[in-house]
């Protein structure tokens, strides 16, 4: 494969590697979510919380849920792209990356 093509292939491979690395760090707090939320559930169940305090907490949970849903959606998009690539179907660009033309000044100069 030409150097230029390997360069383009490594862009994808290293970007996915970055996601993998960051997700492996994220995995640690993510694993804590269910037990921590169960504990929060116990606090709710005690019934000693004021309406105002409960509302503050529910707002935070709603916000977190929306962010997780967004991330799940974005990850799903990535998976779909990978699947279509592995099935050799055409890809559509969805993210704003550093444009090849900007980054690849080296190829233009050769």
């Amino acid at each position: 494969m030409s150097n230029h093509d390997w360069s383009r292939a490594m862009r994808a491979i290293w970007l996915l590697n970055t996601i993998e690395v960051e997700l492996s760090h994220l995995g640690i707090p993510v694993l804590r979510v269910p037990p921590t939320l169960r504990d929060l559930g116990d606090v709710f169940a005690q019934g000693t919380m004021s309406e105002q305090d409960r509302q503050l907490i529910e707002d935070e949970l709603t916000r977190a849920h929306a962010i997780l849903a967004q991330v799940v959606g974005e990850l799903q998009e990535g998976m779909t792209q990978i699947e279509s690539l592995l099935q050799k179907q055409p890809m559509t660009l969805i993210t704003e990356d550093v444009a090849e033309s900007t980054r690849s000044v080296v190829w233009q100069k050769l």
Partner: protein, 366 residues
């Protein structure tokens, strides 16, 4: 403004005969081999350089094997578990083909980079006293320190003194374990600071002595980072070593990287970044270019390469240099080297295991 360029261009522009180059990374990790190999490719033009760094010695071994080192200023020239003393460097210091070598300890050199990083005229450090390290000043003996009759620096890259010793103006008050107020919480328990006051060595006065070192201000520093933003912001992952300090001390900074990324990717968390955009001069993108050293989270070191090179470099100087000619000089660039000489298969065999940052099941036979 950080400029993206090829390795060839970066070396042509910034590394000349005799340039003082500070090499980043540490031993087996994140060594800037893309630029190193390009310097070797251009060895006929460059001929030799002034090599300085705190984290030897794989890159320096390669450069010495190609007769590219005329001066060295450093702390350690070994390859540790695989070869206790880097043979190409060792034989040349012994036979004189590396004529000038200035010894420091890791902390002494690191203190110099702290002075350079903070813009201080010098930095204090409390080691090296009592040893022979301050007793031998190679550059001084060679007449390289200080000024000419006309007031110009003999060599502006070399400080006028290797070190200085002063009497602590604060009488040792700050030293730990702090025993004056009834004890300290440090792990260290021995405290003989009072006994050191009785000596008048180094300054001729009794009291607590402090060693001062001048900054190191390299003409060029070269480092390899995992990611560099297109604006020059640098983020390293895993072991940091002396890189941020050595980079900040330099006049010109060349950063080779695995990926050039959009600015937002690194600027989203500035507290995780190590170098600001404004100090980066040149960016060179070369995936796998740290080979054969390790780049944490990406790939491991090539153990087999180091073991077989450790046997090879004991052959005659000519044979070793011929090996570098065949394996590096005769390649067009690092992509050519990685594909043709190393093979992409081998590179992917070194891929880091998730959660470890290195290849957890890497076979390491002697």
């Amino acid at each position: 403004m950080a400029e993206i360029m090829t390795a060839r261009e970066a070396v042509e522009r910034y590394i000349k005969t005799g340039t003082q180059v500070c090499w980043g990374g540490f031993s087996y990790t994140r060594r800037p081999f893309t630029i190193t190999r390009e310097v070797i490719r251009q060895r006929d033009r460059i001929q030799h350089h002034f090599c300085t760094m705190n984290g030897g010695a794989s890159v320096e071994e390669a450069l010495a094997a190609n007769d590219l080192v005329s001066r060295m200023e450093t702390t350690y020239v070994g390859l540790e578990g695989i070869q206790p003393v880097a043979y190409s460097i060792r034989r040349r210091i012994q036979d004189g083909s590396i004529p000038l070598f200035e010894d420091y300890s890791n902390y002494g050199y690191a203190a110099r980079t702290i002075a350079g990083r903070f813009g201080w005229p010098f930095a204090p450090m409390m080691a090296e006293l009592g040893s022979d390290i301050p007793e031998y000043d190679t550059f001084g003996k060679a007449g390289l320190r200080g000024k000419n009759a006309d007031g110009s620096w003999i060599d502006p890259r070399i400080p006028p003194k290797k070190f200085a010793v002063i009497d602590d103006p604060f009488d040792g008050w700050g030293l730990r374990p702090h025993a004056f107020d009834g004890g300290d919480t440090t792990a260290n328990k021995t405290n003989a600071i009072d006994r050191t006051r009785e000596s008048d060595k180094y300054t001729g006065n009794k009291g607590v002595k402090v060693l001062l070192v001048p900054p190191v201000l390299p003409e060029v520093t070269v480092i390899r980072a995992q990611r560099v933003a297109i604006d020059g912001t640098v983020r390293m992952e895993g072991i940091l070593g002396p890189d941020a300090e050595q980079a900040m001390c330099a006049k010109v900074l060349i950063v080779e990287c695995e990926q050039i990324v959009p600015s937002d990717e690194l600027r989203a968390t500035p507290e995780l970044n190590h170098l600001p955009a404004h100090i980066t001069t040149a960016i060179v993108e070369q995936p796998f270019g740290g080979y054969p050293s390790a780049v944490p989270n990406y790939y491991d070191y090539d153990w087999d390469w180091f073991v077989s090179y450790g046997r090879l470099n004991r052959k005659s100087k000519e044979e070793v240099k011929e090996w570098w000619t065949k394996h590096v000089v005769d390649t067009k660039d690092d992509w050519d080297y990685l594909q043709r000489i190393v093979g992409m298969n081998r590179l992917f065999e070194l891929r880091a295991t998730p959660g470890y940052g290195y290849r957890a099941d890497l076979k390491r036979p002697m």
